[in-house]
């Protein structure tokens, strides 16, 4: 068929024509807003962040300590059993160096984004956050990092109460 077909549908609009208003378009901008309740597990997690602590949940069946915490174990499919404080340090499991903002515009300064395996949680259990106080080229896999917290008065009970993770001098 592909070889038999001579013409495929599709008429391309030139971006310049679009910008110059030469093509009929209708426009719309959404104005909705959202406020999410943070749930049973994450409400506690965020409250603990405000205290400068990271809290996890433990499942007594598979013995995993997981963060972000959840009230159920997705593997055992039963309620998790207890709250466990984990450390505010860990190692870099993987990372990237971004020059791209969320709207795909370019940023002047690079941002290092990493999955950090949290000390005290089960192996391979991590969270995603920013790496600071490090030159991007000096960041490595397996690097030890520690949370840098906002001053207590500035904390709001959000993941951004941790400003970033910074390399630990060893």
């Amino acid at each position: 068929m592909s070889a038999k077909i001579k013409k495929y549908a599709g008429e391309r609009i030139k971006t310049a024509d679009l910008r110059a208003g030469k093509v009929p378009v209708v426009r719309w901008r959404p104005k909705v807003r959202y406020a999410w309740s943070t749930g049973i597990a994450m409400s506690r997690f965020l409250k603990e962040l405000k205290n400068g602590k990271i809290i996890a949940r433990k499942c007594h069946k598979c013995n995993r300590i997981v963060v972000p915490p959840r009230m159920y174990c997705e593997m055992c499919f039963r309620p998790t059993d207890e709250w466990v404080y984990v450390k505010d340090s860990g190692i870099i499991n993987t990372y990237s160096i971004s020059y791209l903002a969320a709207d795909a515009t370019r940023t002047d300064k690079p941002t290092v984004v990493a999955v950090i395996e949290i000390d005290g949680a089960s192996k391979g259990i991590g969270i995603v956050h920013i790496i600071g106080e490090a030159k991007p080229k000096d960041v490595t896999f397996g690097m030890k990092v520690k949370a840098v917290w906002k001053p207590p008065k500035e904390r709001t009970g959000a993941i951004t109460d941790i400003k970033y993770f910074k390399p630990v001098e060893v």
Binding site: S2, Y8, G10, I13, I97
Partner: protein, 388 residues
Amino acid sequence: MFAKRRVAVVGAGLTLFRRNLKETGRELAFEASKMALDSAGLTRKDIDCVTLGTAPDAFDGIHMKGENLSDGAGAYRKPYTRVFVGGGTGVFAPNAGWWHVASGLFDTCLVVAEEKMSSCFPHPQYAFTTIFDPIMSRPIGMNLVWIFAIEMHRYMHVHGIKKEQIALVSVKNKGNAMDHPCAQLPAKITVEDVLNSETLVHPVQRLDISPTSDGAAALVLASEKVAKEITDDPVWIDGVGWGIDSTYWTNRDLYYPKYVECAARMAYKMAGIKNPPKEIDVAEPYDPFDYKELHHMEGLLLCKKGEAPKLTEEGVTQRDGDLPINPSGGLLGVGNPIAAAGLMKVCEIFWQLRGEAGKRQVPGDPRTGVAQAWGDLMQYGSVIVLRS
């Protein structure tokens, strides 16, 4: 446990893939659907049901795109379902079409996939930020390329893969797309071009990524009885598979797509495939980024973990190699209108197995092909096995 009724693909249709197509999504769906019906020698009257695949509503800015596209997809007063599993939608839609017919409920099914990404400003990437968890991810400024760069880096680190090896995929696929009449970004480029292109999110560079696109694709499926009445050349759907991994992606090791393996094992079991590299003649794994082709070849069990870059270097995955991978040109070359891109891959396998792929035809009379897509939050695999 598997249904007794065999299901065939009897027609396929495709539009051009481009940034900013003048046609609406509905018009694109119509064009692809009409081409698929014409190629099967059928009309809308002959169609018992319609399955539509289209990805996040936020691109089009039209919530419930299923109803919006239905008339263009030929669904008027017919049993109609929209399926949606993120980027995995394009291969999941024909899987869903398959069970409509395999179940015995219907004899024919029109499968349509559409995407229009260019309506969203300032950039469709921005719409993607709404897929992320609002508590853990959005506040730190998460964007889609970040997480893929994170996954790519982990894959490179675990296996010691060099960027030069990964860039070969982009070179191959954009080159293959030179022979595809619908391709958006066909190009003769070199590994140096990829390595010298703008770094967006290290290790991802400009030429590692597929473009944003508009486009549509369609397939006509038929039961064995109907297929044998209307064509001498049916292509059978012998295996379908799909599956999902945990949404807690920072709790998973991203070096290996286990979700693709789960979906592939399901499809291979159904198709009776025991040795995938030996039994599969041509494959279209999902390649929105060049490293994903390699990652997905491994998940599809077409080679050992970490071995895909070596096979690529050796030329095994070229169109005339022992295991041609993405002879269409893939998402990197043909373009990436999400759901339509996945279904384009199934169209390509259909044409390859019919010997109708023209300049893109892989040599050696391929009889078994596999297409795969990947979606949701780096966690969903959908796989289809076709045989002629």
